[in-house]
Amino acid sequence: MKSNVMKMVDRRDGKLAMAHFYVAFIALAIGGLAGLLQTLVRSGKFVLPAGIGYYQILTVHGVVLGLVLTTFFIMGFQLAAVSKTAGTLTKRQRTIAWIGFWLMTIGTLMAATMILLNKASVLYTFYAPLQAHALYYIGLTLVIVGSWFDGAAIVIAYIAWRKANPGQPSPLLTFMSLVNTLLWIVATIGVAATVLLQLLPWSLGLVDRVDVLVSRTLFWYFGHPLVYFWLLPAYMAWYVVIPKVIGGKIFSDSLARMSFILFLLFSIPVGFHHQLTEPGIDPAWKFLQVILTFLVVIPSLMTAFSLFATFESYGRSKGAKGLFGWLKVLPWNDARFTVPFIGMLSFIPAGAGGMVNASHQLNQVIHNTIWVTGHFHLTLATAVILTFFGITYWLVPHLTGRTLTKAMNKLAIIQAVFWATGMTFMSGAMHAAGLLGAPRRSSFSEYGGAAQAAEWIPYQVAQAIGGSILFIGIILMVYIFINLAFFAPKGEEEFPVGEAADEAEKTPMVFENWKLWLGITVILILFAYTIPFIDMIENAPIGSKGYKLW
């Protein structure tokens, strides 16, 4: 691992990763604009021009940020991380990944076209029996299939490394990329099944009716591991990159691997916690998945400890005293640290909200209220995305042979301050309004002059203020990205890869036993889903015809 420390990512692999980032940041700009418009509409003081529908831009926002930005960024980052830590990709691996990139890009363009033509205002969750144009489903399928090609390149690179280094634990970043890829492949089987076997034949008119509950269940089998697929690359940066950036050590290599394995095991058989208020599922099975959901809290508790421990150990090695003296010596002027650190902080209220969401009957208090929107704007749109921005600040110049200048570093910190401020307003107001009952995914409405709805409006104005501040953050981010990709001064920017504090201690090889871990993953999935799924099919009502109600 040491020999890799100063090694640059191969230029050809760099190009591959950068291609992914271009799409990701175009998505950020478009999706961010859609988000701004939504908060303005919801304030009640703004009407969309030219007959554009609220739910059309809501679909743009969800698809482009939730599916496109995330998948492209994550795959680009993971490919770069594997190339850096397990060695340059082979020609074959790189070709497979390029095929993946183009499939995802073509799929994105198809889906985007259908949304713009207003043939697919079904949001990114596309719940049947709302029926979008077949090309929308085909487009999303291509995004998923393309991501499998990207994933295949990572899996093949991992296998090759293990063969070349028998008996050795794989490099930590490669290991983590592999876990997230495996998680993604197992999870996307669910959404691929509902799209290919149910929605696509139905939207093409080959079949008349669709089983709504089965489709939703397959979607949420995918929908929860999806959020962990977003989160784990952020954890990769927190565990491995941040310690190096601050000049410290990874708290424990083994514990980091263990937490990733726990995510693989427990983030999939938990989809029912998104379906807690639905008919047709026995509450005992819901509760079983609630228990499994609570188990996935454990690796995050471990992560919290590891991160604090990394910071404190570093601080004390610099002579910091007292209970919190170590906080003062952290490199607050370094955007590569400070920006993801703000993300880490936001994960505390995010996690607290998530535990409420998953708590069986407590879900009734907040289900489908705008609390939920506030929640995932802390998880995905703050903790994860600020960490992705933090990664961008060193990875993009590393790949383009440029450097992060002092001015850009400063701007990056300002960007994060805008983000944190905007999100505090927006997400805070969303959480509060949600507790009062304000629904999510809804355009501005006075609900016939109801007193309760009038109470929500000040919070919606606060959301618009927050959304506007966030949009300034997006403009700054896009500006910094363009600078780092095309204009920053030439130079060498480090790809920071931390070393473990407990290096003397050998990492147990059991973590690389994929038959074991994938085996347990499959058993847990079968345990949590088989009986309720058979129940759903055996007791299914007559299926639904398609509706286009937008």
Partner: protein, 79 residues
């Protein structure tokens, strides 16, 4: 009323947890400082202490509990 029966149950549990926290923290203060790495050269106790980490994660834990209990209270209060 049965609902309030379980509210008092959770309040009881909270008290147990809070006692647990106070108790463990109090105990820790008197414990000798553990040394994390046996193979490192002579380090003073303070330089390898993770006291701040422990206090930090417990603050996170208490925040999680407060949020959860708060929404549980709303659930009990509403019909």
């Amino acid at each position: 009323m049965k609902r309030y029966g379980s509210l008092s149950a959770i309040l009881y549990d909270e008290i147990v947890i809070i006692h647990f926290v106070i108790f463990t923290k109090g105990e820790l203060r008197e414990m000798p400082q553990p040394v994390i790495r046996k193979n490192t050269k002579a380090k003073t106790d303070d330089s390898s202490s993770l006291k701040g980490t422990l206090v930090s994660v417990f603050m996170v834990g208490l925040f999680l509990i407060a949020t959860w209990v708060g929404v549980f209270y709303l659930f009990m209060d509403r019909f």
